[in-house]
């Protein structure tokens, strides 16, 4: 690594640099690598009916002999049973649809806030953030009251005369979509807003001066420049939505097969911690890939800039 300092950095400076670099690495090691290592260790253990419910990976069998037992059964089962793949695919599909819906809803909202008069922006942003002051769980429960057969939505539509019979929305995948989009929409709007307010308005003026119509200017100037915001917002929605457990559990029906639910079943109903750990690691792997892609993309976006 090329040092930005002189050839011989003074000791105090070197110490402060070490501290600056060391703290984030320590943080990563303590709160990311260590837990992942523990989960990895459990995933390679053999399940037993004891406390804890998995066998130790290693033990000293005799003087100076360490015996290590790695059990790859859990991973093999993940591979051989199609139910896990089905739940992965369904989770990915739900997360993808929800991310797109959040983007379609969130972009116009973020754009409207970013282009609103200065004095309106803060109150509008507050309206986006305000629901966070109520517990997430309570807000999801509230949707049960809205969506159920005898709930607000059905009664309202019946009263309007739009429908003759109550719609079955609660305990279906539709309810899961509604719950996830509602819960994660702010995570799409906030990065987009931050991105859109930083755009240079003179670029749009220049486009107009050169005879570009507003829609075309939006497509050619604003949209490409807000790419980083779109990517960041989409990742913030997509990643937690894949592993979401609470919303499908409360609003979803039995046909809502999601990986969070599978994990719960392995851990609680089947008492198989190693398999649950293996499932969690594979999920982590699946989520790291889009994250790395995002990093690349953002780097590309930075390099594209003139």
């Amino acid at each position: 690594m090329a040092s930005p300092f002189q050839n011989r950095p003074r000791p105090t400076r070197r110490a402060s640099r070490l501290l600056n670099i060391g703290v984030p690495y320590l943080w990563l090691g303590l709160f990311l690598l260590l837990p992942v290592a523990i989960v990895l260790q459990i995933s390679l253990a053999e399940p037993t009916a004891a406390q804890p419910p998995y066998a130790a990976l290693w033990q000293w069998v005799e003087e100076g002999v360490l015996q290590i037992r790695l059990d790859f059964q859990s991973y093999r089962l993940l591979w051989s049973d199609s139910l896990y793949l089905a739940s992965f695919l369904n989770s990915l599909q739900v997360a993808l649809v929800c991310t797109l819906l959040c983007l379609l809803l969130g972009y116009p909202m973020a754009y409207a806030i970013a282009t609103a008069p200065e004095r309106w922006r803060l109150p509008l942003l507050m309206l986006i953030v305000l629901p966070f002051w109520t517990s997430f769980l309570i807000r999801v429960y509230a949707w049960i009251g809205i969506l159920k057969t005898n709930g607000f939505l059905n009664n309202f539509l019946l009263w309007l005369g739009v429908i003759d019979e109550p719609l079955a929305i609660l305990y279906t995948q539709t309810a899961v979509y509604i719950g996830i989009v509602y819960s994660y929409l702010p995570f799409m709007i906030l990065p987009l807003y931050a991105n859109l307010t930083r755009l240079d308005p003179t670029l749009l003026e220049a486009a107009a001066d050169l005879g570009c119509r507003p829609l075309r200017a939006f497509l050619r100037v604003t949209l490409p420049l807000s790419r980083a915001g779109i990517v960041a917002g989409s990742m913030l929605v997509f990643i937690p939505a894949v592993g979401e457990f609470v919303i499908p559990d409360l609003l979803g029906g039995p046909q809502t097969l999601m990986v969070g639910r599978m994990l719960w079943t392995e851990f609680f109903s089947n008492m198989d911690w190693p398999l649950a750990a293996a499932l969690a690691l594979v999920l982590l792997g699946l989520l790291v890939v889009p994250f790395v892609l995002m990093q690349r993309w953002q780097q590309g976006a930075l390099e594209d800039r003139p």
């Binding site: 399940p47 009916a49 004891a50 406390q51 804890p52 419910p53 049973d81 199609s82 139910l83 089905a86 739940s87 159920k148 057969t149 005898n150 305990y171 029906g253 039995p254 046909q255 809502t256 097969l257 599978m262 079943t265 851990f267 609680f268 109903s269 089947n270 008492m271 198989d272």
Partner: protein
Amino acid sequence: MRHLSVLLRPAALLLVAALAVPAIASAEERLHIYNWNDYFAEDTLADFQARTGIHPVLDVYDANEVLEAKLFAGRSGYDLVFPTMRPFAARHIAAGLYRPLDKDRLLGLANLDPQIMATLASGDPGNAHVVPYMWGTTGLGINVEKVQAALGEDAPLDTWGLIFDPENAKRLAGCGISLLDDPAEVIPAALAYLGRDPNSLAKADLAAAQALIEAIYPHIRYIHSSQYISDLANGDLCVAHGYSGDVLQAATRAEEAGGRVAIDYLIPREGAVLWTDVMAIPADAPNPEAAHAFIAYLLEPEVIAAVSDYVYYANPNLAATPHLDEALRDDPGIYPPPAVRARLFVPAERSSRELRDLNRLWTRLKSGH
């Protein structure tokens, strides 16, 4: 200066009091209880504290699995837990998770129903680790008026056929059927309806049960283990596969809400699951003495009768029966007559492999994969 000290003195006193209170509280003896939600009478804990000075701290769960995961992880910090005997407490005992009881301190054990103690002994040799708390059955919660409107006045109600006969299920789908989200409840019920051994693990039997459930599946409104309580009460369901006490709670709620909806609990004539919830002290409990004191308290006939009156479940304490509310004692859904009791069955023990296969079958059924 004077008026300042007048203001300051109460403030200083308050401060001293505030500092002193936690000190007193921490010196107080505590008992950490982990129980099902709504499973004590309203004054059970307060009366215990008034009598013994031990401060009970209650946490609640709504699934045996949640309790089990905490026990297997170890150091749960609880002194007393209330698992269902089969299959849960039985495998906890086998794994050595519970401390043997000091029976010299539990003289009330003599009042417990010997028949129930005998069934528990098959999973807890010598009844060394657990004391039965409440027992009940898993049957059908029925909105009689709606079911008769759909099936006719003289349709038999005390049968699993309400759910498992595809013709009935189709006609009842409009007013709503729910199933418990538990393969260990639904599959034995389906096997009982088919006249087979409810605990069978034979491939042919499981396949028959699966085919039966698949046939009625389109007519099921939802599969959930507690939602039916409120839905039965407000008329959103007409047949619910549910726990006896939960259905009776729904019936009471419906009555309190004006009596427009009348709910009955019925034990199907083909037989039903009999379950027992037990009290046990985790091996690593911080305060086993207080846990023993609490079990002894719950073994008192008046105390446990008051709990039964409140939660609508039968207790195993024979001396408590005279203290029960008459309506409860005479309710065949709570205290079934001997002829009905003879048809009840206890869920069998499952190995972890069998457990996985059952859960897998269930997940596939539910998700259609």
